[in-house]
Amino acid sequence: MINLPIFPIVIPALAAIFLLFAPKQVRLQRGVALGALLVTFAVTVLLIFTVSQDGIMTVNLGNWPAPFGITLVSDMLSALLVATSTLLVFFIVWFATHYFSDAYESNYVYVAMLFLLVGVNGAFTTGDIFNLFVFFEVFLISSYVLIVLGGKGVQLRESIKYLLVNVIASALFVMAVALLYGTVGTLSLADLAQKIPLVENQSVITVIGVFFVIVFGLKGALVPLHYWLPGSYVVAPTPILAMFGALLTKVGVYSILRTYTLLFDGGSAFMQNFLIILAVLTIVIGMIGAIAYNDVKLIIIYNIMIAVGVILYGIALNTQTSLEGALYYLIHDMLIKAALFMLVGMMIGITKSGQLRDMGGLITRFPLFGWTFFIAALSLAGIPPLSGFFGKLLIVQGGVGEGSLFGPLLILLSSLFVLFSVIKIFLYGFWGEEKRVYDGPLVPYMNRLIVPTFLLVAVAVAYGFGAEAMHPFITQAIEPLVQPEIYIDAVIKE
């Protein structure tokens, strides 16, 4: 099936379009969304195995030879990320079906979630820099819709900031593409990679690369481009927040990974140093933020930044080991962040407050909930053999291997801050004396919410224990990053 890479984009899109016809039929909405996501996930698994056997899959859309049309490129990196995203959205939608009231469900929430996945999967799959912009816009506009859904005052207020920053970033993206096209005259990533060495003055490419990093850094919330993140994320309803936290910043990071290794890695150490500085700043600011707050959502939100910084550090080192680590960690963080947001969302659901001082003793009434959180928290902190560990280990190894100590030690230190911040939630939210009586219909309700959450954490745990089984896939995913010729040859067949 030569069209396999298109399905993770098309199936959710078809489902979303179908659901546009029947917004008020809540059961249909849930069923179709979940069904489509399951099917999509099955396809992504098939895709992973196909790619692992046959190598990189490409689809020249419209049957136009690359680089004249748009080419979709499913290499292992793309396939893994697409599969992870799809699985995540499946769990989040499942969670959402129990979380949202009917009013939300009949106002296109699943449509927007599906389209968001379309955008994310498209961004992971496309092999064209302008098409990447288009997919960015697809998931951004979906995120705009989701973030304002419900239209509370604070939500609208923070959404404005979120929108504004992203609108600016989008304009800058277009400018960056323009500069690149002006210099190299093509849009296909593979073709760009092929032609960039022919550009007379390589430093021009570096400068354009810096521009791109800033554009993607705005999405990925790299310091000092991160200001929009905490405020706007904190107002979003939990399932939405889970999607944002798990997927959106990661797309920015992925874009840096892809373009840096493929296009902007030549010439000078300037770019690498730039990325390392950004990574370090991001980790530090994330650490500060994570310990500064007593609001459960904000704590996890700042943890996003730490993770992004760690991954970016791995990317910046650009060695086999560090890239493997970055990818391990990227997938881990997507899984576990979504789970954590779902978990803190449930805490807020029970206690009606996001502040730790209003919480306490949850584990007494909801032991499974408590332990699920505990495992997720340890996983986030990178306690072995949970999922966060191996990626971080490889990144640290990569850093030490490059003769650096500061970065690796900072990353290790960040783990402590992560642990500190999430254990705080455990200590004051789950331990301690019960602050309220959590009786009534909440109990069966929470019991339903815990199922997808628990399963997602289980997936993350399995990912950690199965790190060895993942390794061949990770290695294959890293290959085209370390040796861009593999990517180029797969797309541009002479």
Binding site: F130, F133, V134, E137, L140, I141, Y144, V145, V148, G151, K152, G153, V154, L156, R157, E158, S159, I160, K161, L163, L164, V167, I168, S170, A171, L172, V174, M175, V177, A178, L179, Y181, G182, L187, P230, G231, V234, A292, Y293, N294, D295, L298, Q355, R357
Partner: protein
């Protein structure tokens, strides 16, 4: 021509940024509109301006302007229209809920305690 347009792009960007930094939401949205104009012009400029006839095949014409940047700009225009429309309505709703269009009065509260 390209130099002249580059300067125009710079001025547009400048005004855009100035507007975006002001307090009124309306001015801010106008600023984003200006910014996308700048971006679109930049795409066209990068493709090379006026190097031939309009990119519609006509017998006997061999030199055409680069169609690709035009197609890209078209896509970008449409997208930024969608986003601007959304932004406008968001501003309107925010005004309804918050009773202000002054961005300074929309200071965030990342609460602690």
């Amino acid at each position: 021509m390209e130099i002249f347009v580059s300067i125009i792009i710079g001025v547009l960007t400048m005004s855009a940024v100035y507007m975006i930094l002001s307090k009124s939401l309306l001015r801010i949205i106008i600023g984003t509109g200006l910014l996308s104009h700048a971006a679109h012009l930049l795409v066209l400029t990068m493709g090379g301006l006026k190097t031939g006839a309009a990119p519609v095949l006509v017998d006997g014409v061999t030199e055409y302007t680069d169609p690709l940047p035009q197609a890209l700009v078209l896509t970008a225009i449409v997208i930024s229209f969608g986003v601007t429309a959304f932004f406008l309505v968001l501003a309107y709703r925010a005004y309804q809920e918050l009773n202000t269009d002054n961005i300074e009065e929309m200071k965030g509260t990342e609460s602690n305690d």
